[in-house]
Every structure is written in structure tokens, then in C-alpha cells.
Subunit: 308 residues, 3 copies
């Protein structure tokens, strides 16, 4: 399997065939993580720079493990330890990194479009590990892999995404990817945290928690950033939990075979109750495991022996 692109900047513009190639590759590579020797020599001698302007242990660790399972070398830079960025433009920084000849730069940045800017100026593989409120394509892919494993398909599903939609790059990448694969996405959350005219992007908006949950095949709960709750007129996490959290009451009204997802880390008792997080419908830890597999697949497809 191969992919005729050098970068993964977003799911926007990616075809269903490309997404399927990535998910199939991830499924093939996943078993490496369960062998006694969890390592193959595929990317030996390749160097991957993890360049994180925003802290993210979870995603960075997932990328690092993916790289190591394929025998790639990794170097990790973070904004906090980085003098690279002192007064230097992002492009200068990237050109400097490029001059050290890595094979791939994985970048997380608080500015939307930062990975695209990089890709325009430097001729090696760029992977977007989250840019501002724009996209988080590897999360979108691992979510789709998890849904495909749970549901056996990615088309004709109803997926509800609940929480702070406006600030969520996960919601955006999920929406784009799932629409491409033929599923229907419904958003729900505090009215001030749903972007206006979201229907034009291909999403429905539910009018109530009941409606959001009722027909869903998949429910994706988004993480609450406490500092943003001030935008929402009610001041407490508890109030948020009551109106937008997923509890056993909601689960009883949901479809029998619904699956529940969350990009993590969970605020237990806020986005969902502990019973929901740990119930049989929860595929949250499958998401984490699939995260490593999807990132292995991308590294393999973008800089591996059969890369474009």
C-alpha cells in the first residue's frame, strides 16, 4: 500500500481511498505492538523531529513509540526548552531543522496553519500533530480506526460529537473525515461553543442532549477546557456536567450498541460519569492503542521504503 502524498497536514482534501489506505496499514502494523519483540527495522536510519510548540505528553509519547517500534530515531524539541524560536520565524526554525537532514517533522503548534506553512517551505514530510483550533488529523484517523473496528464500517453511521465544538480541532478533523467516509456528524454543546453556520460544513446541530444521544451509533465527548467555561454563562463544572455530561441516564436512552469515545484526558464526572467512562460501550483505550498504530502507519507510508 502506498500514499501519493508527502505530508499529513489535515483530513481536508483527503479522499476516502487515502483514508482507507492509512487505516488498513494501521491495522496491519498494529500487531507489532503486541509481539514479544515490539520492533521492526523498517525505518532504521530515519530521523523524526517532534517539534511541539504546545505541551502534549499523550500525543508526543504516542508518536515517539510509533517511531521507535519502526526503529526510527527521534529528537524531541519543545517550545519551553527551545531557544530555536527566540525571535526567529517559524520558517527559519524549520529551515534550520531541515539543514540537519531529518526525514520527517511532526509539529504541534497553537497557530492554525503552521504545519501548512512549513510544508510550503521545506521539502520533507510534515505531520500535523494539532494546529490551533484547525485540525488534528492523526486524532481523526485514530477515531475512525476505532469506529471502524467497533462498527465494522465507516459509512452510514450517525456520530454525535458533544462539548466545546468551537475550539476543538478534534471535532473538525472528525467531521471532515467522517463526512468523507459517508457518515453523518451531529454536534451538540453549549450554544456559545457551537460555531455559527456549522451546517454549511456538513454537520447537523442537535437541539438537546436527548436528541444528540438518541440515534447515535457513536458518541464522542470532547474535553472541557475549564478556562473556557467563562465564555458559557454558567460558572461551574458541575453545571456543565449536568447539562452536557454523559451519564447513565443518557446511556439508557441511547442505542444498545452505541460506542462512547473521548480524546482524553477525561475529566471524570464532567464530560462523563465514571460508570460511562468504564462501561462496556467505552472504546476510549482502543483509541489510545489505535493512536500508536495510526502514527506507525503514517510514518511508514510517508517516509518508509514505499513512500512517494
Amino acid at each position: 500500500m502506498s500514499l501519493s502524498r508527502r505530508n499529513l497536514l489535515g483530513l481536508d482534501g483527503m479522499s476516502a481511498g487515502e483514508i482507507t489506505t492509512i487505516l488498513d496499514t494501521a491495522e496491519n502494523l498494529k500487531e507489532i505492538s503486541y509481539r514479544p519483540i515490539r520492533k521492526v527495522p523498517t525505518l532504521r536510519g530515519k530521523t523524526i523531529v517532534h517539534f511541539f510548540y504546545e505541551a502534549s505528553t499523550r500525543t508526543r509519547t504516542s508518536f515517539e513509540l510509533a517511531a521507535k517500534r519502526l526503529s526510527a530515531d527521534t529528537v524531541s524539541l519543545s517550545a519551553s526548552t527551545s531557544s530555536l524560536t527566540k525571535g526567529e520565524t517559524l520558517i527559519d526554525t524549520a529551515k534550520n531543522l531541515l539543514a540537519m537532514s531529518p526525514d520527517c517533522i511532526v509539529i504541534r503548534h497553537s497557530q492554525s496553519g503552521a504545519p501548512h506553512l512549513l510544508a510550503k517551505h521545506i521539502p520533507i514530510s510534515i505531520i500535523n500533530a494539532g494546529d490551533g483550533a484547525h485540525e488534528h488529523p492523526t486524532q481523526g484517523l485514530l477515531d475512525m480506526l476505532t469506529i471502524r473496528q467497533a462498527k465494522g464500517r465507516l459509512d452510514g453511521l450517525k456520530v454525535s460529537i458533544i462539548g466545546d465544538i468551537t475550539h476543538s480541532r478534534v471535532a473538525r478533523s472528525d467531521l471532515i473525515g467522517l463526512n468523507t467516509m459517508g457518515s453523518e456528524v451531529t454536534f451538540y454543546g453549549p450554544r456559545t461553543l457551537i460555531p455559527p453556520a456549522v451546517e454549511s460544513l456538513g454537520a447537523k446541530v442537535a437541539g438537546s442532549m436527548e436528541e444528540a444521544v438518541a440515534d447515535a451509533d457513536v458518541i464522542i465527548m470532547l474535553r472541557v477546557q475549564q478556562e473556557r467555561l467563562t465564555d458559557v454563562l454558567f460558572p461551574t463544572l458541575r453545571e456543565y456536567a449536568q447539562r452536557f455530561g454523559l451519564g447513565m441516564k443518557e446511556m439508557k436512552a441511547a442505542k444498545k450498541d452505541v460506542v462512547v469515545m473521548h480524546p482524553g484526558p477525561i475529566n471524570r464526572g464532567v464530560e462523563m460519569s465514571p460508570e460511562v467512562a468504564d462501561g462496556p460501550w467505552s472504546v476510549i483505550l482502543d483509541q489510545v492503542a489505535n493512536g500508536v498504530a495510526v502514527r506507525m502507519a503514517l510514518l511508514y507510508l510517508l517516509i518508509g521504503p514505499e513512500a512517494a
Copy 2:
């Protein structure tokens, strides 16, 4: 040699036979660190997560080198860079790490019992790299290896541990391990920094520095945490040094073949004078070297080819 356990949570409950197996394995593996090529392929394809909620360069570096000398891959997370922990319980964090399928988690945490909690919930090897004021079992093991090398045995010895006993997980692990091996431990320090009823744990308490030093085969000086001196009624390091520091005067009253230890980093002129730290009785740097060997042994025994 093998060990019929999956975790190293503490020396409490560990048999003399188990301790001896670990120390013997450490002694066998130690020479790897002195070869021209300081690496064996034993743990190739194994992944070790170093999860440090408390900063510790010394211990983390020792663990990392131990892992690399056995060809394991390592990923290092620290609380300061960790978004994993944001509002997430320790168990959720651990389950997330587990979903990425590492082989072993080495954890340091300011809460006593954190490694035990982890071990209860996740089915891979957990190594306690220090939990609160509870235990620091790898330090206890490296101390015992150092004593065994210096004295030829671990039974029938008198070991004095001097300093802030109350807050010291090193003192606790040393006490438990040395008692198990048949040696006698005496504590000495500022009265407010000796826990009450410590005799019930198997330790003696000396009444004076002279008494603590007099018959000791081994003297272990504990590091002073300056911020805790306020608990001790006298305000200066200098006063502490005069009353609880090890100087040449004390060394003259000590046994000819006494050895002096310290878990590091030393405050020279506080816990001991420079002459003592650098004298022929000092095995402080042997402790550091043995630290790598003991950690190699544990990784080998817990996740190596012959692991339980």
C-alpha cells in the same frame, strides 16, 4: 536466575532469597558497563516508560542508562511536561500508557503508594523509583549491593543511618532490606526528625552522634532538605553540620574499616565534611555505579527473557 514477581514496589515483603537473586544478577550484569561496547541485545524491542511526577535527574538517568545498556527503548514523561495528568486520575493516566503497550513503567511519585495503585490496576511490570516518604527500593538494593561488595556479606552488620529519618524513603527501604538480610539498623538525627515508635519497625535509635558512629560497620548519611530544617528548632545548616554532620572527629572514633555512604547529591560541609566524602572509607561513587547495575538487574529479571 529468575524472580517470581512482576513488580518491584518495595522491599517490604521481599525475601532474603529474592534480594540475593537481584544482587547476584546485578553483579553479573555490572561488567557490561565497563566493556568497550556497553550494550547487550537482551531487551531489544522492549519499551520502558519513565514516569516521573517528581524531578530526579540522578535516578532517571541511572534507569535510562540501565535500559539502554540492555537495548530497551525508553520514553520519558515528567509531570511538568505532562498534560496526561491534567485533571486525570493516576489510574486513567496509567491505563492510557498501558494502551500504548509498553513493557514496564518506572514511576516516581510524591504520594506514598502510587506505584502500588498502578500495579493493582495494570498488568505490566511496575518499578517504584521512589514514592513519597514510603519506599525507594532500588536505592535500598544498590545500597545493599554496595555494602555486600565492601563487607563481603549482608548479615550481622551494624548500619547507622543519620539525618532526617522521618521524611526519608531511603532510610525506610534500607531498614527493611537490611533487617531482612540479618543486619541491625540504628537511626540518629534531630529528635523531631526521628519518627516515633521507630523501634517497632526494627530499628534502634542512638542517643548521640558518638553512639551512632561508635560500633557501626556502615554509616549512611542522609541528604538534608534545607526547607525542612525549620522543623528542627535550629535555623542554620552550620548548626546542623556541627551536631549531625560527619567530620574527621567522628571518623577517628569510628571503626577502622567503617564505610561511609550517601544517596546523593551531597551537601559538602553539611552532612559530611569534604575530607570524609573523599576519604578511603567513602563508597559513595560505588553506590552510583551499582545503581545502574541494580536497575539493569531488575529490568532483566522483571521483563527479560526469563521473567515470570
Copy 3:
């Protein structure tokens, strides 16, 4: 090729022959970074400790990549995460590291002479990655490699170094190295940032920007540390740029084949205009690429199979 020394502490005292050996080795090893598999097994089983008391992503990343391309293992300590240094002397810290038996310590420290102190006390290879305002020998070497590639030689050249000379370890190492190789160095910058009696060190001082630029074969612009501009009587970066920055006006007065260098990161519009930074005379990114090559060469010569 081999080098009859164990350490790289500075360019001071290094012969032209030694410098040539390092640059020739770097040139030989450089192509490894452009292979499909960017890795050779030369330093397998060697451990390099990167001990950075001062933050430096750029230099640390360059050293890490150099080590990995030669298959060495690396452990990275930084002052901010380091409890090693708590109240401990540098020598104690170094002896502790030594007890873990690495093969080489790469140290950056804010104190001039710190690497020399280490080298005096511990018997493994020490590489100075920048000490205070003293030396930055790997930068000096990569600058010389870049000049040699651009100009075909290192003797008989006129090299102008412009900016804050007083606080620049780059300026010092460049001066020493270039003098040794037979080139002439001219300094220019704010009068308060040129050390007194610099002529006695072998440098000329230009009286004006015009003079500094006029005959130069190579112009090296130094990075402005904004916090030091207060020493210079004029308060703004803009004023600095007008009087000491390299713009198109200066380039027109320069030699046709002049090359422009900068140790990075550039403050665009301060030390030089964007047109200058990106012009055909700029070899700034060659410096970065040569940095990896020079560091590979040093590791190879100091701890490789043919090391002294």
C-alpha cells in the same frame, strides 16, 4: 585520521594540523546525513551524556543527531530538570555521571572554564558545547568548515565579525581558530561591546561598518541579545539595526564573492535584513548542516575506534 587528545575544550592551543584533521573527518562523515539510511554503526554501545546547564535546543539537537547517526546512545540532562546540581559542586556531579560509565560528556555551562574543570577531574572525553563568554569550539569548527567549503581555503582570508564581541564565545573561538589557520579577523560593533586591548589577541578593530565590510571575504554577524542593548546607550533594536546591521547598502559595498554567516537564531531586520539573510552570499544553513558533521567528526575522533 586520528587526534592525539581526549577532549575538545577549546580551539585555544589546537594546532592547524588538528583543526584540519577534524574538518577533513567532518567532510568525510557529512555524506552520511544524505544517505537513505542515515546511520552507521561506528559508535554502537557508546553512551554520550549531554549536560546542558544553559538551554540550547539548536546545539543540543545537533549533537544528538550527530550521536544518533553514529549509533551512539544519548542521555540528556538539563539544569532545569536537574536535581543533580542541587547544592552539589560541578565536580561531584561530574563524578556521579562518571560512575555511570558514559564515554563522553558534552557540557554547556554559563561559567567560563567549567569544561576544563571537568576534564581535570574525570578521565573520559569532555566536549565543550559553550562555556560562558569563553569558547564555543564546535561553533568555531563548523564556521571554519563552512568557510573552507565556500572559499576553498582557510588561510589568507579577511574575516569580519560584527556585533556584541565582548559577550560572544563564538567570536572568541572563531578568532582563535581563524588566526591559527592563517586568516585575519576584524571585529566591529558598538564600542562598549568590543573588549579593550582586543588587538593583543590577534584581532583588528574596524572604525566603521564600511571599513568592516569593505575588504572582507567573510562576514560573520553575531546575534544580538536584546537584554544587553541597555549597555549600549541606544535603546532600540531599530537603532542597532541601522548602525550595526547588514543591509543591501552594505552588501553593495562588499566584495562580489563575500559570504555571510550567522550562528543563529537570526533576528531578521536586526543583525541583517531578510534580503541579506536569504541572498546568494548566505551560507547560514550550510553552517547548520556542517554543525552536525563537525560534531560527528569529534565524537568519531574522540571516542571512536581509532581514538587516542
